[in-house]
């Protein structure tokens, strides 16, 4: 069962929502409804599900209804129509008391402009949620201190919000939300008010924290790069309507319509594509017990000048250069153990191209993609990284063409090494 199920949620702002709803039924757009009835449609028939532990990003330009949508999830805004189901309970049918309990026990929110309480210290801000729950002072301060430490604000607890920089204030906002240990974290453009450098830092930190905490996160943003970086899945909104839901790669590679395509046109692919997406299958591998001649033959067949060596469980051991193998063969070595080099650069499957660029420059041989058990998943030749970008950004290149590029570049790398 999904953690959050949003079904057909519509929000109309104005005095006569029913008029607007009728037109919604008839399939009119937001602008047409505004013109005909004077009612502003914030969200129009939005439906999606968020799984437990997932980071779901809702992305759209200002006025697309994304902030309204996230407020429907904690009922700061009551949907005009439709239901929001959380852990199997329809929260749109709850009374005030139940809503308060739901807000206390299940979720918390991080705001765009931080929304800290200027008259409270950082500690009191962070402990606010627990104070609302009437948890005694000692316990709530202990827990608040712990989250403050987690977001890197130890030692600041007795200051006031205005004494902190924007980035630090939002850390407090995040700490305040995390102190109540919510299952669901609602983040409304949480990093949009920060300058780019701090924003990136906060994104990385959120990803780190998320790895440890495994919360269900609904994240609103107008920044596509941010959406693609943070989101497990992304929903794109336009004029109150969700136009596409999918993984970041889905959205980039199969835009649902022209709007999405136009939107993602300028995306820096290097930040989105991952090692996993572009790596080549390491078809030919050598084993330590192989003789040097066997290794040489494998290299010759593939037209490469070095070969990776793995153990029986496909765990990476190192690599062997063709010239070393030739010398070993002359010496009459029985296996490769003498000539295995270990200065291989390994990357994780989820590393982005961006990160690969940096390391590949200094790598003597192709990068190796390994999983947590150090098993080899694939290899990435420097040329592949570029090719990966070309492949995704230019649809005209056909599969055959790409392969040619890869072959050529892999040959180059081979000669260079």
């Amino acid at each position: 069962m999904a953690k959050i199920e949003v079904k057909n949620v519509t929000k109309v702002f104005g005095n006569h929502p029913d008029k607007a709803l009728k037109l919604v039924e008839e399939g009119y757009s937001k602008d047409e409804i505004m013109e005909k009835t004077g009612q502003a449609v914030g969200v129009l028939r939005a439906s999606f599900e968020v799984e437990e532990g997932e980071t779901f990003v809702v992305m759209g330009l200002s006025g697309s209804g994304k902030s309204t949508l996230i407020r429907c999830l904690n009922l700061l805004i009551t949907p005009t129509e439709g239901t929001v189901i959380m852990d199997g309970e329809d929260i749109t049918a709850m009374n005030d008391e139940q809503i308060k309990t739901m807000r206390k026990s299940k979720q918390s929110m991080v705001f765009q402009r931080f929304a800290l309480f200027p008259h409270r210290t950082i500690l009191d801000n962070t402990a606010f949620g627990l104070e609302i729950q009437k948890i005694d002072k000692q316990e709530r301060e202990e827990r608040a201190l712990k989250t403050l430490e987690m977001v890197g604000l130890k030692g600041w607890e007795n200051r006031y919000p205005e004494q902190l920089s924007g980035g630090m204030q939002q850390r407090v906002g995040l700490a305040r939300a995390l102190t109540v240990d919510p299952e669901i974290l609602l983040m409304d453009e949480a990093f949009s008010a920060l300058d780019p450098l701090i924003r990136r830092e906060m994104q990385d930190e959120l990803l780190d924290l998320q790895e440890k905490m495994n919360k269900t996160i609904v994240f609103i943003t107008h920044d596509l790069d941010e959406a693609l970086k943070i989101g497990d899945r992304v929903a794109l909104m336009k004029d109150g309507v969700i136009v596409q839901i999918g993984t970041p790669e889905d959205i980039l590679t199969n835009p649902a319509n022209e709007y999405v395509a136009k939107f993602v046109e300028d995306v820096d692919m290097s930040k989105v594509l991952t090692a996993e997406g572009i790596m080549n299958d390491p078809e030919v591998l050598a084993f330590p017990k192989d003789g040097p001649r066997v290794a040489l033959r494998k290299m010759r067949e593939e037209g490469i000048s070095s070969i990776f060596v793995v153990d029986r469980n496909r765990r990476l051991v190192g690599y062997v250069m063709a010239e070393d193998a030739a010398k070993a063969a002359d010496r009459g070595d029985q296996d490769l153990t003498q000539i295995i080099k270990e200065d291989v650069i390994t990357v994780k499957p989820e590393n982005t191209l961006n990160e690969l660029f940096e390391v590949s420059a200094s790598a003597p041989v192709p990068l190796v993609v390994v999983n947590e058990e150090h098993k080899i998943q694939g290899i990435i030749i420097r040329g592949t990284i570029l090719a990966g970008l070309v492949k995704q950004t230019d649809e005209l290149i056909e599969t055959k063409g790409e392969n040619d590029i890869e072959k050529e570049t892999s040959g180059d790398v081979g000669q260079n090494t």
């Binding site: 929110m109 929304a115 008259h119 609302i132």
Partner: protein
């Protein structure tokens, strides 16, 4: 005939505003007059307010002056404390000590009542647009209607004395408390209030933990205004029997006693400056803290 046609407004019969108000006044007086007069007796010169005056006069003037000076020092600055000391000694020296105490009592009681009614009213206007729309024109009415107009019905209901003076003072000085309380709460940023709500706070928690503390500087400004307006009423209040510096000023006017009128007027000014500086500084202190 012709002048009526030339001036068609004359065709409208006289609307009996004055007599209607009079009748309403009589009706209300018959309904609650006994109670209001009884209240006046219990609360006025021979009741509560008289006792407050007696209690303050029981304290030796030098001790009271020192205490007020210390309070000014604590809440405000050394300069204000020094001014308070010299000012109060001057008032005593001019022979207006009793009058000053009576005036302070009238002001403090009026202001306390204005706050007790005004702050909750202000909260209501902030929470409901409907209440806001009804209350604000009434406040405009209360403030722009010449203050003398309240005096006569006040005397009908509460007889001549401190209570009538207090009622007129409250009517005139309460509006800023309501206005600025409402304004202060409305000015608290929407996101901050949303944040409080998002953590599941009740309306009461939201009000006491977030809205009121953040509105405090504005509310304090309203209270400061209230005190100043109350002080500006002392001479008018004296016309319906309020004792104190105001009655000395009034006597000065009536007897063409320029010196006495000025001296007691100076007393009012000194009290005004002391009260203003003290309340203003508590407001500024809070702002700086926040």
């Amino acid at each position: 005939m012709w002048d009526k046609i030339l001036n068609p407004i004359d065709l409208i019969p006289n609307i009996p505003v004055a007599s209607a108000v009079e009748r309403a006044n009589d009706w209300l007086l018959g309904l609650i007059g006994d109670y209001t007069r009884a209240f006046s007796y219990a609360f006025g010169d021979r009741g509560f307010m008289g006792e407050v005056v007696d209690a303050l006069l029981w304290v030796p003037p030098s001790v009271l002056i020192l205490l007020i000076t210390l309070l000014a020092w604590k809440l405000s600055s050394r300069t204000v404390a020094l001014f308070t000391l010299i000012g109060l000694i001057l008032i005593y020296n001019m022979g207006y000590w009793v009058g000053a105490i009576e005036t302070i009592t009238l002001i403090l009681v009026s202001v306390a009542i204005s706050i007790a009614i005004g702050v909750p009213m202000g909260i209501l206007t902030a929470r409901s647009d409907k209440v806001h729309r009804i209350v604000w024109p009434i406040l405009d009415f209360m403030q722009t209607m010449p203050a003398f107009v309240y005096l006569i019905p006040a005397v009908f209901f509460f007889r001549i004395g401190m209570v009538s003076a207090m009622i007129a003072t409250v009517v005139f000085s309460m509006p800023p408390v309501i206005r600025l309380t409402g304004l202060g709460i409305r000015q608290v940023s929407v996101e901050v209030v949303e944040a409080a709500a998002a953590f599941g706070s009740s309306e009461w928690q939201k009000l006491t933990m977030v809205q009121m503390p953040l509105a405090k500087p504005t509310i304090m400004a309203g209270i400061n205004q209230c005190i100043m307006l109350a002080l500006s009423m002392v001479v008018i209040a004296a016309m319906i029997g309020a004792k104190g510096l105001g009655s000395s000023v009034l006597r000065g006017i009536q007897r063409l006693d320029i010196g006495g009128g000025f001296a007691s007027g100076l007393g009012v000014v000194i009290l005004a400056i002391i009260l203003d500086r003290i309340t203003q500084s508590t407001r500024q202190e809070k702002t700086a803290e926040e």
